[in-house]
């Protein structure tokens, strides 16, 4: 049904509400929830996505979810940017078996902050690969765990085989100002990409 309140055209109506989203990715325990908490104006909420491995189509005979249904939980937070813009931050499950969720989440997003713990740098490879392959803007934010300062940006860039233009920054995910800095770096990067090259 067509409803006058649902509009999906690309025009910007200054009077209407505009939801936006950013993904917070990285390995397990890297600080995704901490970062969302530092930035969000509300205590982070938990949402669940229920998935069946085979089909998700509706069938009256299967009105009750089957046993193989799995539930994936993710944290999210919210920043009311101005009277019309509302930005959501979604902490994406780090494990690769949840990638099916990322496609839906990633679609239309501003981009991603990939959090890195240098003691377990391999954990962020799936996220970096994912965003590179989808050509989604992302920044790499090194969370300052003990020992992080023994490394420099160039070695991180090299270890992750990052393109020249991908920003790498060092931050403490518990610090709201530093976390906001990472977010600003992402939006600047996304903006630079829209002006340098049009989407292919």
């Amino acid at each position: 049904m067509r409803s006058n309140s649902v509009h999906s055209d690309d025009t910007i109506d200054c009077g209407s509400l505009v939801p936006l989203k950013v993904l917070v990715a990285g390995g397990f325990g890297v600080g995704k929830t901490t970062l969302v908490t530092a930035l969000s104006e509300i205590p982070p909420l938990l949402t669940e996505q229920e998935m069946t491995s085979a089909s998700v189509g509706f069938d009256a005979a299967e009105a009750v979810p089957a046993k193989h249904t799995t539930t994936v939980a993710m944290d999210f937070g919210r920043i009311t940017v101005d009277e019309a813009l509302v930005l959501y931050l979604f902490g994406t499950p780090g494990q690769s078996r949840f990638w099916f969720m990322w496609d839906e989440l990633a679609r239309g997003s501003v981009g991603a902050v990939v959090l890195v713990d240098l003691r377990r740098i391999d954990d962020c490879f799936p996220a970096v690969d994912y965003f590179e392959n989808r050509r989604l803007p992302f920044v790499v934010a090194v969370n300052r765990f003990p020992g992080a300062d023994d490394h420099d940006t160039e070695s991180v860039r090299h270890a992750l085989v990052l393109a020249e233009d991908v920003p790498v920054l060092w931050m403490d995910a518990r610090d709201p100002a530093a976390s906001r800095g990472a977010l600003i770096a992402l939006v600047e990067h996304a903006l630079a990409r829209t002006t340098v090259s049009s989407r292919s």
């Binding site: 049904m1 409803s3 309140s5 649902v6 509009h7 999906s8 690309d10 910007i12 209407s16 509400l17 505009v18 939801p19 936006l20 989203k21 909420l45 938990l46 949402t47 669940e48 996505q49 229920e50 998700v56 509706f58 009256a60 009105a63 009750v64 979810p65 539930t71 999210f76 919210r78 920043i79 940017v81 101005d82 813009l85 509302v86 930005l87 959501y88 979604f90 839906e104 989440l105 679609r107 239309g108 997003s109 501003v110 981009g111 989604l136 803007p137 906001r180 977010l183 600003i184 939006v187 600047e188 996304a190 903006l191 829209t194 002006t195 989407r199």
Partner: protein, 121 residues
């Protein structure tokens, strides 16, 4: 609302989640609504007649909230929240505000506004 809170705290559900939506996991109009889609309550009458979860969703939307927030408040998966929201949009109780673009990222004008807003915080 209170009921949803209790359910969230106890981690259990009284009824199967899809019972809320009559077993449906999809809704015609709202199938493609992204999780960040904002909804606001309209002035439509008849909210009192709605099922509890639906009424809660409309009450939440007194201020703009996303489908994700509706799901969190009702303690239901996103798929259920999406059906609830879509039904309420169809019934005229909620207005949906979709993201500016679902393919590719937001337009430069939007990103500039976002940047400005974040820097001002």
């Amino acid at each position: 609302m209170h009921q949803a809170d209790e359910q969230q705290q106890s981690g259990g559900r009284v009824v199967p989640v899809y019972a809320i939506t009559g077993g449906r996991t999809r809704s015609g109009a709202g199938q493609d609504m992204p999780v960040e889609t904002l909804v606001t309550a309209t002035a439509a009458r008849g909210v009192d007649m709605l099922q509890a979860e639906y009424r809660t969703a409309v009450e939440l939307a007194t201020h703009p909230v996303s489908i994700a927030e509706v799901g969190a408040a009702l303690a239901v998966p996103l798929g259920v929240a999406r059906v609830v929201v879509a039904d309420l949009v169809d019934a005229g109780h909620l207005a949906a505000h979709l993201p500016p673009s679902t393919d590719g990222g937001p337009a430069p004008e939007i990103l500039e506004r976002l940047l400005e807003g974040l820097r001002a915080q």
